[in-house]
Amino acid sequence: MRRARVRATVATALAVAVAASGCGGGDSPGGGGSGTSGTVTVFAAASLTESFTRIGDDFEAANPGTTVVFNFGGSSGLATQINEGAPADVFAAAAPRNMATVTDAGNADGTPSVFARNQLVIAVARGNPRGIRGLADLTRPGTAVAVCAEQVPCGAAARTALDAASVDLTPVTLEQDVKGALAKVRLGEVDAALVYRTDAAAADDDVSAVEFPESARAVNDYPIVALADAPNPAGARAFVAYVRSDAGRAVLTGAGFQTP
């Protein structure tokens, strides 16, 4: 609860700052090649941190005079912030369910589109000392496993995959998000965790990723949309388009996402 509150505060402060700078930017003459200018505020799922930061840099380079500001966090928390009036331009969620929260409230400008897909892998200590090859190996006695709680997208995906594999797994912890699950692998507190491929890839100094076939049954779709109350509507549309462009897709693929 505390973390949520801190996040909300940070988001609000950011949003205020962003709104102020956005107004100033709008007055400045000249824009990029696509005609955008000013500040684009993007609320994006935490799992997009690495890839969106790069896409943001590329977008700014392609559109001189434009600044992209990110607010990364849990998708549901971001959705709440948007519905409570945070001045965001773009929302990129880690699950359709969180996107639905925003569209149902009438806060989306148009229909969200899926721009990336993520799949689960088994994250293990680097080099896979326990020789884990698939989901069934996770039930071996003495194997501590971290899984996301079912309330969050990675947990729902894990449940689907485990059911598909008919594996009855008792994890030691139901983490609140992927990063939490991954951290416990990195610290050596658990032997394995079910996390997204992209998260495992970002942590490849410490962990190895073990692919398993059932993950295909639990693919996670990432939808993106420009927001109805966007302070910078043109910028919002331009950023969404850029994410879905070849350049954006290349970055996402490089991070381990699949792209449609």
Binding site: M1, R2, R3, A4, G74, S76, G77, T80, R97, A144, A146, A149, Q151, V152, P171, V172, T173, L174, E175, Q176, G180, A183, K184, L187, G188, E189
Partner: protein, 279 residues
């Protein structure tokens, strides 16, 4: 609930003069009212959004009560642990001159400034499977702390202990050490003096510290999720349940929060009445 001790009986016939009704100066009243509003309004926000009609059925969901019970148990155990370790520490800081005392005092407050999640990581680095002590504890006694209820207690105690130590140390400093000398002249050794004289003298401060400690432990989130993880019935305390509920269902999260608030406020008010009514 303040940390001050009772007025000493020293001066003869010291009686509290009846409180005169004085006009409250506006520069005090205005910020005071604003401050109260600032603290109470968010609570009001929660209450306004509480789905009262579905409240009973949400409460009877087994997960909610399990988390509540676990929260109350662990917070109470954590407070016990803090009392056991924190009171002697406070005594040491208040009564014993030793080199580096200021540094020790600063170190005690570290958990206050440390983001709780970082505190949880720090606990893992010490008590975790590969931690400084964790491996030894496991190998020697077969004790593993992460992902256990004991781990929750440890995480809560880590974060809450400074509140107790600071409150008790303050009370000890405010208490007149000459009472301890008087006890010594009557034949009481240091330990007897501590238990029979010092502790009763600082009882109000001790109670205040314990209450703060308990409340902080009850609301603990970051260190708990990091060190003890989240598993219903074992390590999923109320704040963890609230945070998870927030992912899917705002109303459920609000209900859980309101329940946590109601229970803790009731308990604190009941305890307070007992303490205050004691002569």
């Amino acid at each position: 609930m303040t940390a001050t001790r009772d007025a000493p009986p020293a001066a003869p016939a010291v009686r509290r003069t009846p409180s005169r009704r004085t006009r409250i100066p506006l520069p005090l009243l205005l910020p005071a009212a604003l401050g109260l509003l600032f603290l109470v309004l968010p609570l009001g926000g929660l209450l306004v959004r509480t789905p009262w009609s579905t409240l009973p059925q949400r409460l009877t969901e087994p997960g909610a009560l399990t988390a509540l019970r676990l929260s109350l148990q662990t917070a109470t155990l954590a407070t016990g642990l803090c009392l056991l370790l924190g009171v002697p520490l406070a005594w040491l800081l208040a009564r014993v001159e030793f080199p580096g005392r200021r540094i020790v005092r600063a170190l005690v407050t570290v958990p206050l400034v440390l983001p709780p999640v970082v505190g949880g990581v720090a606990l893992l680095l010490v008590f975790g499977r590969r931690g400084l002590l964790g491996g030894w504890l496991d190998a020697t006694f077969g004790i593993t702390l992460p992902f256990t209820t004991a781990g929750v207690v440890l995480a809560e105690a880590f974060v809450a202990m400074p509140f107790l130590v600071i409150a008790v140390e303050g009370a000890l400093r405010a208490a007149d050490p000459r009472y301890e000398e008087a006890a010594a002249t009557l034949g009481a050794g240091r330990w007897t003096t501590f238990t029979r004289v010092t502790l009763p003298l600082v009882a109000p401060g001790l109670a205040a510290g314990a209450v703060l400690c308990w409340a902080r432990a009850l609301g603990e989130f970051g260190a708990t999720i990091t060190f003890a993880g989240n598993y219903p019935g074992r390590t999923q305390t109320m704040p963890l349940a609230v945070y998870l509920a927030l992912e899917t269902d705002l109303e459920a999260a609000i209900v859980l929060s309101v329940v946590l608030l109601a229970v803790s406020v009731t308990i604190l008010a009941a305890l307070r009445d007992r303490w205050i009514s004691a002569p």
